[in-house]
Amino acid sequence: MKFIGDRKGVAEEFTSLPALVIVMIGFAIFFAMFANVYMAHNEKLKAAELAEAAHYIALKLTNAESPLTDAPLLINKEKWDDVVKHEEILRKYCKPSSYNYSISISSPFVSDFKMIGGKAKGDRMSVSMKVAIKLADGDVKYGKLIVTVWREK
């Protein structure tokens, strides 16, 4: 009580203000950094989610049951051309909810593979997978299947 009631102590309140300011600045910096890290983390999560979805689609499109393949990782050109004409076959087989995707083939041996799927909108993620491409019986080359995924608005 003696300490609180001591009128000489009034000056002490003013001396604590600079300390309070430093603490407040500290808090402000801390929360700014916290928000920054949170946002960066959130972005990373979103990108990871997109990558995961793209990877899942690529795996699904290259397995043995896919309407594009003859065997795992063996894309048949004829089947690809069929799917270009009737994209719904592919959507029926693989349509992850809330994602959209397009697929294309890149190969030093073939250039006439048409892209399947629409144009990507907003944030997107692409993954590629090495595939064998059957152009005709007894003519199999190698290339890459590129899957681009984006969120449906």
Binding site: G26, F34, K130, G138, Y142
Partner: protein, 417 residues
Amino acid sequence: MNRKGISAMHDAILFIVMVSLSGAILLPAFINNPITESEMQRERSETADEALVVLLSITPDEMEYIIGKDIIKDALSTGGVDFSKSIFWEKILSFALGRTQYHKNCAELIAEDLASQFSITWGSENVRINLLTSGLERRLKENISHTLTDLLGKEYFFNFTAKWEPIIGIPFGGKICVGEAPPQAAYVSKTFISMPLNPVVIIGGKDYSISKNGIKNCIEDWISSVPAMKNILDLIENYENNPKFREDLTKNLEDLIYGFLFTGVTNSEGEILFPGIMNLALHIIIDNISRMVNKMVDTFLGSLNSAFGDDAGVINAIKNMLEEQIKSKFNLNKDLSTEKLSTALTNKFVEEIKNNRNFEFIKNKIEEYVGQIVDYIIENIEALKKNVNEVKNKIDDWLLNRISISRAEVSLAIWEA
């Protein structure tokens, strides 16, 4: 006691708490995200799987080679023709014996090459008997190297190995290796390819199916009539806990496995029940080489209009040349007939395994296999005594697990450049 010190203490505690909290919250922002690292590892592992499957599926470009080029080159050199300077001979050979593979995929070509190599580790050296297909192998290796470099880019180094060992762990069959030796920390993908073999081999007028199921059925047919198997069952039924039991069991199991893998299995009358896996494999290899020689002669004669004589003459000349090579390499009797060659070679191999120090690792391997099943039998002797069929099944599986005659192992190791 100075009470004014309390506020300073509060600040210090608050400071420490805030710094710790900040550290804990911000730490993930300053270190590498462990999820990303595991994803990278998964990606590398998947890259190896994808590259291997794709490589085996593709039909290689520019698969042109000359059958028997090395042998003919040697023969011409002996006759005074400098092959390296003569475009004429190269053209003639390419015209007459040149082959181009258009439609076979890489897996089929690898399997064909493995089946026709006739490679064997003899002492300290690896001997390749069939030189007819060395051209195919050279082109195949170039193609594999080129394709994998394209597929993996500059990010990775690689090692591709294909191995056909009809008797697992015994260096006899065929092997293709492309790339440097891999380090310990490499991503490895492994798979199997089917061998391009006739499903049935005929030896001594009897048909032997070489699929795993075919051999399993075959073992089931003869296993009960083999003296070594009868002895094993007797020993188990009349089990006595003494060192002689282990000794006798080991001896009979060794007889059984040597018979099954190498020398052939006979019944008590000496009648051959099974010719042995090595004998089967040798027949397969010789059949494959013969098929190749026949094709080669067809092409040769078709192209040159019988300039070198009749078909049989040329086939026999090439067969004789191969046989002479085998006989001289393995110190076999020069008068041996073609029919007895594979049996003589098998017997020579078994003799070397048993007596030659260079083959000790094979002997040790077989001792290890036998030791494993002996330990199993002794550990479960009471249960096995009551159920002898279980012993038979166990020994069937044990024998079958030693062979891989109808498939070859293919692996791809990749590591970062």
